[in-house]
């Protein structure tokens, strides 16, 4: 049976432990709040000899990702992490490992984007990297931050995957919170992540070219191949999570359900607010309401099949976005709507935006969203158009 012990660990340190146990070869990262503790911890581990890795102190996130691309192409197991503006500065390079099929693993301590200057959590940084071709998943607590980072290596390096993986842990809510979690012993983990061998690495004895010119006669074919291979990763992701569950007893799925039995109304969340949302669902269930919670664990590739299955008997789906796409509304809500549009029978989808820039979402906030969504559905049935609502916003009156 698995050997684990209960420890109190900060989310950032939980990530660092996973990277240490995965025995990463190269770490290239630039510190930025709220990701800083991950970098600090890893550099300590390297300095103390607890992790035999090359720690590259870079001058920017752009260089951090460039160094990861090079190290991964040379066959190294690599790690980086960033947040908010740092992810934006890294953006240009993010497409390279996904197009070159390099299994870089990165953790994002999600942070809102300036201006006004902010270091606090929301999902604006995550949404700005939707289309980069990385596998992307979200943790809700420190245990999951550890588990998913570990799984990220096994998924990324699977010879049928070979895509970079991004694990999102909400800045501060996970990165700076200490809580109890299970930490497996090193030898348990060693058996879970196989030795890594990329089929085509940079090697002076067997020269290969990577990232060559892609003129119009070949570029579209490369993109088609990339998309097909990327969509096919879902089965491998599920397979790895199953292997993890068999070994450690914690089970993950692309779409996870909470108290969805006979639910007519479902709330959909992503990330660290999901456990608070569970408390709201518990309270509403205690009052006899048919509500449940759906969480998107996997964000890319988008789990179309699993989402459609999860909402097949739902009448109203309430979607929370922690990000605003200006002039358009909530990006998660719009993707959920498009995922369901082709169905004959589909729920009403009502979106809300909350939790921007580190504003807490409380239990009452979730209860409000659900009540308000039911009112909005009545309006839709009367033929009225409904507007996207940002909750908890002071309007200047009576303040």
């Amino acid at each position: 049976m698995k050997k684990e012990r209960v420890v109190g660990l900060e989310g950032s340190f939980a990530v660092a432990e996973a990277v240490r146990m995965a025995n990463a070869d190269v770490i290239a990262a630039y510190p930025i709040t709220p990701q800083t503790h991950i970098v600090e911890r890893l550099s300590e581990m390297v300095a103390d000899g607890d992790l035999d890795a090359e720690f590259i102190c870079v001058e920017s996130e752009h260089t951090a990702m460039s160094a990861c691309v090079g190290a991964s192409a040379a066959g190294g197991r690599v790690f980086t992490c960033t947040a908010g503006q740092g992810l934006e500065l890294m953006h240009e390079v993010l497409y390279i490992p996904s197009s070159m099929r390099l299994p870089v693993v990165e953790v994002i301590a999600n942070r809102a984007l300036s201006a006004p200057l902010t270091v606090w959590c929301d999902h604006s940084d995550m949404m700005a990297v939707r289309d980069i071709g990385w596998i992307q998943m979200l943790a809700e607590n420190n245990q999951q931050a550890f588990d998913l980072t570990l799984c990220a290596y096994r998924i990324a390096e699977d010879s049928e995957v070979l895509f970079p993986v991004m694990v999102h842990i909400d800045g501060f809510y996970l990165s700076h919170v200490i809580e109890d979690m299970n930490l497996p012993e090193d030898e348990e983990v060693a058996g879970f992540i196989p030795e890594y061998e990329h089929p085509f690495t940079l090697d002076p004895d067997k020269p290969v070219s990577m990232g060559c010119y892609g003129p119009p006669f070949i570029y579209p074919e490369t993109k088609k191949a990339q998309e097909v291979a990327f969509e096919n990763t879902i089965s491998k992701i599920i397979e790895t999570w199953k292997a993890f569950g068999d070994r450690f007893g914690r089970h993950y799925a692309p779409v996870e359900k909470y108290r969805m039995e006979d639910a007519k109304i479902a709330l959909l969340t992503m990330g660290s607010c999901s456990e608070t949302a569970m408390l709201a669902i518990d309270e509403l269930r205690a009052k006899g309401e048919d509500v449940g919670l759906i969480r998107l664990r996997l964000w890319r590739p988008f789990p179309f099949k699993e989402l459609r299955e999860a909402v097949k008997d739902v009448e109203v789906l309430v979607v929370l976005d922690r990000c605003i796409s200006f002039g358009m509304g909530g990006p998660v809500c719009s993707e959920v709507k498009s995922a369901l549009y082709g169905l004959q029978k589909r729920p009403y989808v009502v979106g809300f935006i909350a939790g921007l820039g580190g504003r807490d979402i409380l239990i009452e906030g979730f209860e409000y969203m659900i009540r308000s969504a039911l009112e909005k559905v009545k309006a839709i049935e009367r033929g009225e158009e409904i507007e996207m609502e940002m909750i908890g916003i002071r309007d200047g009156e009576g303040e």
Partner: protein, 180 residues
């Protein structure tokens, strides 16, 4: 149980919350410590949050709005902001102060109060004007959330050689804390 630690940036309120979290977890309880997020500002009023639960996993991830216990590291903060008024009606305020219980009671309108001269103890025992570890003794006396012994290992891990002094300061505060 929800506990707010009210101090100034640099006084170690976050460390206090973290040490108690580790102690509670070592006793098999569920615990969560959460700083008031953001850039650190030395000297500015800062809150740290701590939740301890015997049986159930702590799921809520938000600042504590109405604490059961309020630990005040700096008596100068009693008149600052609305922090004290957010304490639950039957909640207890644990205050670092030289003043007598009767004197301070008029400054702070709470039902239950625990006081200790943590600054005096910290200066005597640690030779430092940092009261966070000392105030853990007062918190444990007033709220009994963990055993004093459970703090020893987290302090040793955190402070190394100087843990002994911090443990002594904590124990002294435990002895000297007065409760209404």
């Amino acid at each position: 149980m929800e506990i707010c630690i009210y101090g100034r940036g640099g006084q170690g309120g976050v460390t206090l919350a973290e040490l108690v979290t580790h102690a509670a977890i070592s006793e098999g309880k569920h615990a969560q410590s959460m700083p008031s997020f953001g850039p650190e500002r030395r000297g500015a009023p800062v809150l740290a949050f701590l939740r301890v639960s015997e049986a159930e996993r702590i799921k809520v991830r938000a600042e504590i709005e109405e604490p059961d216990v309020l630990v005040v590291l700096d008596p100068g903060l009693l008149g600052v902001g609305d922090v004290v008024s957010r304490l639950k009606k039957d909640g207890i305020a644990v205050v670092n102060t030289k003043k007598k219980m009767t004197e301070i009671r008029s400054d702070i309108g709470v039902n239950k109060l625990a006081t200790v001269d943590a600054m005096g103890i910290a200066r005597d025992v640690l030779g430092l004007a940092i009261v966070n570890t000392t105030m853990i003794g007062a918190l444990v006396k007033a709220a009994g959330i963990v055993k004093l012994e459970s703090l020893e290992e987290p302090m040793e891990e955190r402070f190394g050689k100087v843990a002994t002094k911090n443990i002594a300061a904590m124990r002294k505060a435990f002895e000297e804390t007065v409760m209404s």
